[in-house]
């Protein structure tokens, strides 16, 4: 393992590297299937844009992006992030992308999301984690039910998917709820 930040059963999380940029990271965010349910990924990504994004993360204390690394073969399989970190009110937005297709049907997404919640509530001592997803995304909906998020709002017909106007769901998980279940 190189520079592990948190180690799980199947994966570990670490800060992204320039090698990640040189790999397939940028291709994931051009992929039609992966970006279908992302609200702001309608433009093709590039290695150059990914490098700029990577550079913006160095010493950034408002956004934490971590690479998901498969422990068994050291493959970079996706990214998970906390963005819009507010150190006064202690909340952030969580997001997850499993880039490598062969890992999308397994439980790595569950483990990565769970580990990032632990980062948020234990290592960063945040109070609330917010998340939003497009209502058609049944995997995201199930993941939020599983992790005991509470639905706090709906942006009605907020995005357009395949020519249909679809709701965006907003959910929040507070630290006490997470601690109660995990201690």
């Amino acid at each position: 393992m190189y520079n592990p930040y948190m180690v799980g059963k199947q994966i570990y999380l670490r800060h992204p590297t320039e090698e990640d940029v040189q790999g397939k990271w940028h291709e994931w965010f051009s992929d039609e299937e992966l970006t279908k349910f992302m609200t702001d990924r309608f433009w093709p990504n590039s290695k150059e844009a990914q490098l700029e994004f990577y550079k913006s993360l160095i010493n950034n204390k408002e956004r934490l992006v971590l690479s998901l690394i498969n422990k068994s073969n050291n493959e970079h399989v996706g990214v998970v992030s906390l963005s819009a970190i507010n150190w006064v009110h202690r909340h952030a937005d969580i997001a997850l992308a499993i880039g490598e297709k062969k890992y999308r049907k397994g439980s790595i997404a569950i483990e990565a999301f769970s580990m990032m919640l632990k980062v948020a509530f234990v290592r960063l001592n945040l109070k609330n984690v917010k998340s939003s997803y497009i209502a058609l995304n049944k995997e995201s909906e199930a993941l939020h039910r599983l992790m005991k998020f509470t639905k706090v709002g709906v942006y009605k017909k907020f995005v357009c998917i395949d020519s249909n106007n679809i709701d965006v769901i907003v959910e929040v998980l507070d630290r006490e709820t997470w601690l109660k279940r995990n201690t």
């Binding site: 397994g106 769970s114 632990k118 995997e139 993941l143 599983l146 995990n182």
Partner: protein, 83 residues
């Protein structure tokens, strides 16, 4: 007691994965049940929590990958099985 729990687990798995109870054994896992993908796994965990009125930790959720492990974790969680 274990038989009763085993039957209830099988009923939940049968409903979630869309298969008959007879197709489920102690070794049933994502490798043997084709429909056991990540979405169905999440549905399985939530359905087990509702059926047994328990709450799994995040670590438990990753562990529940076959019938035998589900039984072991549930036996630890259910009040009548705690020492």
């Amino acid at each position: 007691m274990k038989t009763n729990i085993s039957d209830r687990i099988k009923n939940v798995m049968s409903a979630v994965f869309g298969i008959s109870n007879e197709e489920i054994s102690d070794e049933s896992s994502p490798d043997t049940i084709e429909s056991w993908d990540s979405l169905k796994h999440m549905n399985l965990v939530v359905s087990l929590e509702e059926e047994f009125n328990v709450e799994f930790t995040d670590d438990n959720i990753i562990e529940l990958i076959n019938m035998k492990l589900i039984m072991a974790v549930l036996l630890e969680k259910l009040p009548s099985n705690r020492s």
